[in-house]
């Protein structure tokens, strides 16, 4: 019978064959939808508002753009770190993962600074409610992502992963890429779309 080919089958949690990989993809779908709805809320309300939008005039792009680059670089580091595991360069992998985390933390710090510079708060007007809720949701995701990366770093340092078994890095890594990709949409919506 064809269905019973007597192949060697990998055992356990192997990269993209693992259930966890599929699970995180499903999680990304639902989280992606969440951000989709957040941006829908923004555009729905922005399209109907009579207020000055955004209240402080067109947003300054310099700091947010630098921050965007920082986040993307961090994503590239996570990708490189996983690559190094596959090439059996665990020490390199650990070093690069550390850099990724540092860049992630930089993003959070700069974003908090950006928050501090705003002349309005969460409750001062409709734009403020939207701005802080949307960036706040994203910031929470970044922080969760950083915790995940830190766990991966600890596990890497404990020697848990090698080129045969490192599904956790693949899974955690794609979540981080997702968080970064979503930022591009948030950035475009909040910072670029007012220029249109």
């Amino acid at each position: 019978m064809n269905s019973f080919d007597h192949h060697f089958l990998p055992v356990g949690s192997v990269g993209k064959l693992s259930a966890g990989w599929w699970g995180v993809l499903a999680l990304i779908v639902t989280e992606g939808a969440l951000f989709g709805y957040l941006l829908f809320v923004y555009f729905y309300l922005a399209a109907q508002t009579d207020e000055h939008w955004p209240p402080e005039g067109l947003p300054s792009l310099i700091v947010p753009t630098i921050n965007t680059v920082i986040l993307l670089v961090s994503s590239a580091f996570v990708w490189a770190s996983e690559r190094c595991i596959r090439l059996r360069q665990i020490r390199w992998s650990i070093g690069i993962m550390t850099l990724a985390i540092i860049f992630g933390i930089c993003f959070v710090m700069i974003q908090l600074m950006e928050w501090g510079n705003k002349i309005y708060g969460l409750t001062s007007n409709l734009y403020g409610s939207l701005y802080f809720t949307i960036t706040g949701f994203h910031l929470c995701h970044v922080i969760v992502g950083i915790v995940v990366l830190m766990l991966l770093l600890i596990w890497l340092s404990l020697g848990y992963f090698d080129d045969k078994r490192h599904a956790a890095v693949t899974i955690g890594g794609v979540y981080w890429h997702f968080v970064d990709a979503v930022w591009l949409f948030v950035f475009t919506t909040l910072y670029l779309s007012p220029y249109l």
Binding site: M1, F8, L9, K16, L17, L126
Partner: protein
């Protein structure tokens, strides 16, 4: 997928191996070993830590049924109040809370969870697997469901239950008009419940695509699986909309944001959009799996396979897809542009086409089959009739002009009850009659079952059909009483009598369950002589489900010999043994080729504690105990980290000493 990558180094058995192939008949050494591996610990430890999908499925069923009873009692009190004009049994505020909690309970705490119960119990058995893809996530999803249910009922005894209807429109649910904790309980409870539903949906989707028996290609899975898949995909895409809506509302109420605040540029219609973007697909999520129950179980009693399997499977998915673009038909009377009304009206009518495909498939199955009039058959056939009535009134309210006439009247109430009770409750009760022997090893009483059906069917139609007329006579929904001069006296009295008859039907069902649990006739492995895999094992099933992972060659593995379709035969007695720990087979998504041996996690306390801490976190938010909330967030994180810690038994970590075993073997 990665089959080509499986260059084998006959080295480490722990990382890759050719699975043993053979038989493990009941009572053999192999079978005993399996039973030992998969057994849950007895006592409270096993009770708290079990991840067995069968136990979780039964818990879902029982819990959801308890919510059905609670929601039912609320409905009876409402009907007692409305039986006669100018009654004073309930004060207006009490009435508001009762009809709101009735809706919340039935829609959110009963209708989907009961179907999750069936699917959790049945999926691995239908698919030929030993477990769901994420057993611990499955346990978590149950615990959070339970806690969310308790959460939403927390303020009920204080007389502060949610009171703005189950779709909770602003501004009546906003901070100005609703100052108590009523709405906050609902808002946070819904976000919490959303976590449970999402976790469950992820589990179903991944299980379908990865955990099928070899040979069970995607065109051989039972319709129940298609239905639950459609529901789960819809949930993944739309639950965030409602969770976000409730979270924003909570922020408006408690933190002072202005999303729905008209005075500051917020828009009440935003709430309606977000709610119904979720709400309408949800309606399909709570009927498609139930329609799947009928599509799978009805053929057993017609002694032939379902007519038009492919058409029904496609119709299921089509219903879901069109279901994403009909939400505005709940908003026809809100002054939206005519273009939107036309498009959404057209889509709402179009959705009756796939529904009709399914209906004709069931009718054809009965028509060309040889029906056996057992209790489950009665429920399924009754369901078809109710579905047609509910569907027709649905097409009526999809017509915009008629919709404006009937909007917010009892006609809508009649329609939604025909749809939800007809397409959910009847298949569910029929499904319990059908799978009760598999769940418990005993048959349900047939005589009581017939009484059960007829009393329920008559009570249901007597209770809900007159509501159409009440609606046409102009009776608005959600009024706590009415004057006898309105001419609604007799329809309301008949409705109330019918509702109590329906309740007696449910009572007969409960009595039947209790009696049958104790004294029901013992059931063999396949008491209905059915065709699908769950009937190939003992009743109730052993903890490991399948002693050997079977190979499946058709949609009707147990009927192959008599149907004589094709030459290939399923092989249930002989297959992969997989008994080095909790193991099952992972297959490819479409054609179900063996790809990987999954190491499944054993029992664990972490799901319970994650569920508990997350629920307490929401309690902290509700009561503004901010530091407690923070503490619970940290506790949830720590528990999650323990859960996620890579384990050697699951082969998530490298084997010690084999860090670099195969030098020069890189890809």
């Amino acid at each position: 997928m990665a089959i080509s990558n499986m260059t084998h180094n006959p080295g480490d058995e722990r990382l890759e191996r050719v699975p043993d192939f053979g038989r493990a008949p009941s009572g053999s050494d192999e079978e005993m070993r399996l039973a030992n591996i998969w057994r849950s610990e007895p006592g409270w430890r096993g009770w708290l830590s079990t991840v067995d999908h069968k136990t979780i499925g039964l818990r879902y069923l029982v819990t959801a049924f308890v919510f059905l009873l609670i929601g039912g009692i609320e409905a009876l009190i409402i009907r007692a109040q409305l039986a006669l004009p100018d009654q004073t049994l309930l004060a207006p505020e009490q009435y508001n809370q009762l009809f709101t909690m009735h809706g919340i309970t039935m829609i959110f705490l009963y209708a989907l969870p009961i179907l999750s119960g069936f699917s959790n119990y049945l999926w691995p058995l239908l698919l030929g697997s030993r477990d769901m893809a994420f057993p611990r996530l499955n346990a978590l999803s149950y615990w959070i469901f339970l806690f969310a249910g308790i959460f939403m009922y927390m303020s009920f005894p204080l007389g502060l239950a949610p009171n703005a209807g189950w779709f909770n429109y602003v501004p009546i649910s906003g901070p100005i008009y609703n100052t108590g904790p009523n709405i906050d309980v609902f808002a946070l409870g819904m976000v919490l419940l959303g976590i449970s539903t999402t976790a469950g949906s992820v589990n179903f989707v991944v299980t379908l695509f990865r955990m099928r028996a070899p040979g069970m290609t995607i065109n051989k899975v039972p319709i129940l699986v298609w239905g639950t898949l459609a529901a789960s995909v819809a949930n993944l895409v739309t639950i965030p909309a409602v969770s976000l809506a409730f979270f924003l509302l909570w922020m408006d109420r408690q933190l002072g944001t202005q999303f729905f605040d008209v005075a500051n540029g917020g828009k009440p219609l935003l709430w309606q959009h977000l709610f119904w973007i979720f709400g309408h697909p949800w309606v399909y999520a709570i009927v498609l799996p139930a329609m799947g129950i009928v599509s799978d179980a009805l053929p057993t009693f017609c002694r032939r396979p379902l007519v038009g399997y492919a058409a029904v499977a496609l119709a299921t998915m089509a219903t879901m897809l069109i279901g994403f673009v009909v939400w505005m038909h709940h908003m026809f009377a809100t002054g939206l542009p005519t273009v939107s009304l036309s498009l959404f009206g057209a889509a709402s009518m179009a959705i009756s086409i796939p529904s009709a495909v399914a209906v004709f498939a069931w009718i054809a199955t009965i028509w060309v089959g040889r029906p056996v009039f057992k209790t489950p058959f009665l429920f399924f056939a009754g369901f078809v009739i109710l579905f047609v009535i509910g569907g027709l009134s649905g097409v009526m309210v999809a017509a915009i002009s008629l919709n404006w006439q009937l909007n917010e009247t009892y006609f809508v109430v009649a329609h939604l009850h025909y749809v939800l009770l007809g397409i959910n409750v009847f298949p569910v009760i029929g499904g319990i009659y059908y799978w009760f022997p598999k769940f418990t090893g005993r048959m349900m009483n047939e005589k009581l079952g017939k009484w059960n059906f007829w009393v329920m069917f008559i009570g249901f139609n007597m209770g809900f059909f007159p509501m159409h007329i009440a609606g046409l006579l102009g009776m608005p929904r959600r009024i706590y009483t009415y004057s006898s001069r309105m001419g609604w006296d007799s329809v309301n009295l008949i409705t109330s009598i019918g509702s109590f008859i329906l309740a007696i039907g449910i009572l007969i069902f409960l009595i039947n369950v209790i009696i049958s649990l104790k004294r029901g006739e013992k059931a063999n492995s396949n008491p209905w002589d059915a065709a699908t895999l769950e009937w190939s094992m003992s009743s109730p099933p052993p903890p490991y489900n399948f002693a050997v992972i079977p190979a499946v060659a058709s949609r009707h593995p147990l009927w192959e010999d008599r149907l004589e379709e094709g030459i290939r035969r399923s092989n249930l007695a002989e297959g992969y043994l997989l008994m080095k720990g909790h193991e099952t087979l992972g297959t490819s998504p479409i054609d179900a080729k063996p790809l990987v041996i999954f190491k499944m996690p054993g029992d664990s306390y972490t799901p319970f504690f994650v569920g508990l801490f997350v629920s307490l976190l929401f309690l902290g938010l509700l009561l503004h105990w901010w530091s407690f909330t923070g503490l619970m967030a940290v506790a949830s994180c720590i528990t999650l980290i323990i859960w996620m810690w890579p384990q050697k038994t699951l082969k998530q970590r490298t084997e010690s000493g084999t860090t670099y075993p195969f030098q020069g073997d890189s890809k």
